[in-house]
């Protein structure tokens, strides 16, 4: 039996009362003076913020917290997201005063500890990537891509090659890949996957040319399949004069097993919030460090973190004349970097390798169990082992009883198991993309599979049971299209609706 907590929790603006205080800030002991802000800019009314007392604030957010599923609630097998356990020691360390109360512009001699940590993290990341240089500046994976593509552009332009304006990528790639590509001013050339779900070498050969700036690949790819032709791919791309970008979001499958740099890759980004266990925070912050080869080094964002061994001194180097510039206001998400570093320290080389081994083992284990369920099938070559994740196709079930991947997701969350990623990658129609991570043990996976089976059985008895799911979550299935049609995006907009007499919303007659 599972039920998520339910509280009829109002918007915080509907709590509290004028005059209540939840926090008393420090007041300076300097004597007050008249505030001489020019009239045109002087605030006329204090901003309308909530007015509660401390206990009320805590109750409000406690209620909300309990209506939220998280990694510590249970399995969270979102494919491509690597929802691994967030070690508690990292959360504790990230609150150290020595990190929290340091300013990005304080003199470099007063921040040696953080710089050393960054330098050591860079070293570990380059070691795992097999690429010798690193920048921690990109604040997320997509920013890492943007940075990496910028390095590729700078490289070609530095060689006087201004015509390479295409980036080639498989159609199974993550949405950020094409988005970053276009933001970088490139054209995107998507190539179809072959029947094994891998890069089709012929298609690749046809796609590359003297216009190719680079090739972006995620390996293992979004289907969880290792691109075993990776060396040929590298050769083809390099021959065309393009560079090789390794989307390391799926690095959790390959730590210490392969090193992309050794396969000819020029640049790679990591997601510390995936492979290195930093929390997802309901959407962020993350960190997307970039590693690169010798030939791209001089284009890295400034400043780089460097070490002068003689003086045992760490410093920020802004002196890169060919730098692509900056991709973050400061040095990236140092608070996240620290967590990633602590994670690496706790596991060491052997532990990290075991991580990948377990992640791959459980992914294959869940795959074999799930594909055995009637109505579900494994897409692409069944004989290939998967790496950290697998993509299951629910189209058979959809055809049989009209119950698709999204319905399955809603049935699962009803039962206190988070759903896999659904409807992605787009190349599989009713995709259920399952990535358990090494944080799930055998019992947990067995339970997940058991629940999945039970729910599909229930759906067979009564497909509407599936369409009306979820049941035991804090709210029933929400109406996404109503949200788009009505676009109520802030309390300010609610106040407008109120004056128009249009709040609270009316339920349409035909609402299910």
């Amino acid at each position: 039996m599972y039920r998520q907590a339910i509280y009829d929790e109002p918007l915080i603006y509907d709590l509290g009362k004028k005059g209540r205080r939840a926090h008393l800030p420090l007041k300076t002991d300097v004597s007050p003076i008249d505030i001489n802000i020019p009239e045109s800019m002087k605030r006329k009314e204090a901003p309308e913020l909530p007015e509660l007392h401390e206990g009320e604030v805590m109750r409000h957010y406690l209620h909300l917290a309990q209506m939220n599923y998280c990694v510590d609630s249970g399995i969270y097998p979102l494919g491509s997201c690597t929802m691994k356990y967030n070690p508690k020691i990292n959360e504790a360390l990230a609150r150290a005063e020595g990190l929290a109360y340091t300013h990005p512009y304080q003199p470099v001699e007063t921040i040696q500890g953080t710089l050393e940590m960054m330098y050591e993290l860079q070293k570990a990341l380059t070691e795992l990537a097999g690429l010798p240089y690193c920048s921690l500046q990109p604040p997320a994976g997509a920013a890492g891509e943007y940075t990496g593509l910028g390095l590729i552009r700078a490289y070609h332009q530095d060689k006087g090659d201004f015509d390479r304006d295409e980036i080639v990528t498989p159609d199974s790639s993550h949405g950020t890949n094409p988005a970053s590509t276009v933001m970088n001013g490139y054209k995107i050339i998507e190539i179809k996957s072959n029947e094994n779900g891998q890069v089709d070498l012929d298609a690749l050969r046809a796609a590359v040319s003297e216009k190719t700036a680079g090739f972006m690949i995620t390996n293992p790819n979004t289907l969880g399949i290792f691109e075993s032709d990776i060396c040929e791919i590298a050769e083809i791309v390099h021959e065309s004069g393009g560079l090789l970008y390794y989307d390391g979001a799926n690095f959790n499958a390959i730590i210490g097993i392969i090193r992309p740099g050794e396969m000819g890759f020029d640049v790679l980004h990591y997601n510390l919030h995936k492979t290195f266990s930093t929390p997802h925070g309901g959407g962020g912050p993350g960190a997307g460090p970039v590693c690169c080869s010798e030939r791209l080094k001089e284009f890295l964002p400034v400043p780089t973190v460097e070490y002068e061994e003689e003086k045992d001194f760490y410093y920020l180097n802004y002196d890169l004349p060919k730098t692509i510039g900056k991709v973050h206001g400061y040095y990236g998400n140092t608070g996240i970097a620290l967590r990633g570093y602590a994670y690496i320290c706790a596991l060491g080389a052997k532990g990290l390798i075991h991580t990948s081994e377990q992640a791959v083992l459980v992914a294959n284990y869940v795959m074999r169990k799930v594909e055995a369920i009637d109505g579900l099938r494994l897409r692409f070559n069944r004989n290939l082992p998967r790496k950290h994740e697998c993509v299951i196709d629910a189209s058979p079930l959809k055809h049989q009883i009209g119950v698709g991947a999204m319905d399955i997701a809603k049935m699962l969350i009803s039962r206190g198991k988070h759903a896999p990623t659904v409807l992605f990658p787009l190349i599989v129609h009713e995709a259920l993309m399952i990535e358990p991570t090494e944080n799930e043990n055998k019992e947990s996976i067995d339970q997940f599979v058991q629940v999945l089976k039970e729910e599909i059985d229930k759906a067979r008895d009564n497909p509407d049971y599936a369409h009306d799911a979820p049941y035991w979550t804090s709210v029933g299935r929400v109406d996404d299209s109503w949200a788009v049609k009505n676009l109520i995006l802030s309390y300010k907009m609610i106040k407008n609706l109120k004056t128009k007499g249009e709040w609270p919303p009316k339920w349409p007659e035909d609402h299910h």
């Binding site: 009829d8 917290a65 959407g283 090494e438």
Partner: protein, 460 residues
């Protein structure tokens, strides 16, 4: 095989054996058989290892103890990152695993906690900024600026110039430059008045030619000066269909009008200073992206948006991510931005902080900073040290110190010796350094007096 046991690994030797058996294989290695042997890594990885949790803790704490913090050294540093106090209640909420260990709320029914809180973040930010909609966060102010520039160009169609104030933070300008690389944008600087430090209104209007898609200014600007003369610029911009982007210091908004009050189209900034988190050496920050509401515009907005929607239960509305079709995971190369992972948790942190501060708190912290800065200015003037500009300011101003390049290091060390981070050096002439000095509400009279004393001594 028993050494598989580790707190971060869920399966022990027995589990592994059982699973291998069910898979009909004899070792995990078989699952890697599709990786060509020649690319399998065979060396020894050089990776640090601290085998017990306590050793990890000691190691990291030892490293961090090499830093000097603003708890020991009085900080006059600002420039976009403010030393703030994090209430204990806020930290306790941030420590709740339900918030920090959740993913992006892709399944809204089981993620109302994140969604509801982010909607409140959006709402509080709109009130602070007097704007209609605010997204769930950008990486930081600098990248928000890059996105804003791209967005004005996207919306304008066929106009490719983006004006920006010369009184901009240098780091933001650098990111802006990197961010427009793909969008064919020409960046043009609007000069500022060297007496007041404010943007040059006449020049700004002159520069608003046909090709201009947007104009950006900061308020208070990087030199600390309040831009109280921008009304004509905004009017001119409206006439010419130029979008107005303001970058504001959110910590000033208890005392200064929200950008919506002076009618800007897009407001950006960073919410670190209103509770996104402590300074953390500059990251994570909490980029803010806020707009007037306009369906067309909103559809072009980067980043995630939480909206309200209906549930099956009549009368019970709920929250969900909306307008996802703008985002990369659906629109791919036609997305409004590549942003995916954002700064959601620090955005929630802002919601917690503002819920605790309330209107009185935001006003009081603003007042403390205002009093501090103006006291400091007055005391410095008593020893003959003046601000570079005469424009009104909030919590920061640029002190005319003219430290020669070759003395800069010495000055830093001198001030450090007095337990002071002296401010951010800025050279107007390329030779000498003036200092952008910010007074947070954590500074007290004695700290300010010590600063003045130190400067006085230095000048002797």
């Amino acid at each position: 095989m028993s050494d598989y046991s580790h707190p971060y690994l869920a399966n022990c030797a027995t589990d592994i054996e059982e699973m291998l058996k069910e898979l009909g294989i004899s070792s995990i290695d078989e699952l890697f058989s599709d990786i060509p042997e020649e690319i399998r890594f065979k060396g020894e990885l050089k990776i640090p290892h601290y085998p017990s949790e306590m050793e990890v803790k000691e190691h990291v704490e030892d490293l961090l103890s090499k830093n000097k913090t603003t708890r020991e050294i009085r900080s006059f540093l600002g420039g976009g990152v403010l030393d703030i106090y994090i209430p204990a209640a806020q930290d306790e909420l941030l420590r709740r695993t339900e918030f920090y260990s959740a993913y992006t709320p892709y399944q809204p029914e089981t993620s109302q906690g994140t969604l509801h809180t982010l909607f409140e973040f959006q709402s509080m930010l709109c009130e602070l900024l007097s704007m209609d909609t605010t997204n769930c966060s950008m990486y930081d102010w600098a990248t928000a600026l890059g996105e804003a520039a791209n967005m004005t160009v996207r919306l304008a169609k066929k106009k490719f110039t983006f004006l920006y104030t010369g009184a901009i933070a240098p780091n933001r300008l650098e990111v802006l430059k990197t961010y427009v690389i793909g969008s064919n944008v020409t960046l043009v600087e609007v000069p500022y008045d060297t007496t007041t430090g404010k943007m040059d209104v006449t020049k700004a209007i002159e520069l608003m030619t046909e090709d201009v898609a947007g104009i950006y200014f900061e308020n208070p600007n990087y030199f600390g000066v309040i831009e109280d003369n921008i009304k004509p610029i905004i009017e001119a911009a409206k006439e010419r269909n130029v979008m107005v982007v303001a970058g504001v210091d959110l910590s000033s908004l208890g005392l200064i009008e929200g950008p919506g009050d002076y009618d800007v189209d897009i407001a950006i900034g960073d919410a670190q200073c209103v509770g996104g988190g402590p300074m953390n050496f500059g990251g994570p920050m909490t980029g803010v992206f806020s707009m007037k509401f306009d369906r067309k515009w909103t559809r072009q907005m980067p980043g995630r948006l939480v909206g309200i929607t209906l549930t099956p239960e009549e009368g019970k509305w709920a929250f969900t991510n909306t307008l996802q079709t703008r985002e990369q995971h659906i629109k791919r190369h036609r997305a409004t931005s590549n942003i995916c992972t954002n700064e959601a948790l620090t955005a929630m942190s802002v919601a917690f902080h503002l819920a605790l501060l309330g209107p009185q708190g935001i006003t009081e912290t603003g007042e403390s900073m205002y009093y501090n800065a103006h006291y400091l200015k007055a005391e410095l003037e008593k020893i003959g040290v003046k601000p570079v500009f005469n424009g009104e300011f909030f919590n920061a101003f640029t002190v005319d110190l003219k430290i020669p390049k070759d003395k800069k290091k010495e000055f830093t060390t001198f001030m450090l010796g007095r337990k002071i981070f002296a401010g951010i050096p800025y050279s107007f002439d390329g030779e000498n350094y003036d200092y952008l000095v910010t007074t947070s509400y954590l500074l007290r009279k004695k700290d300010l007096d010590d600063f003045v004393k130190a400067i006085e001594e230095w000048r002797k």
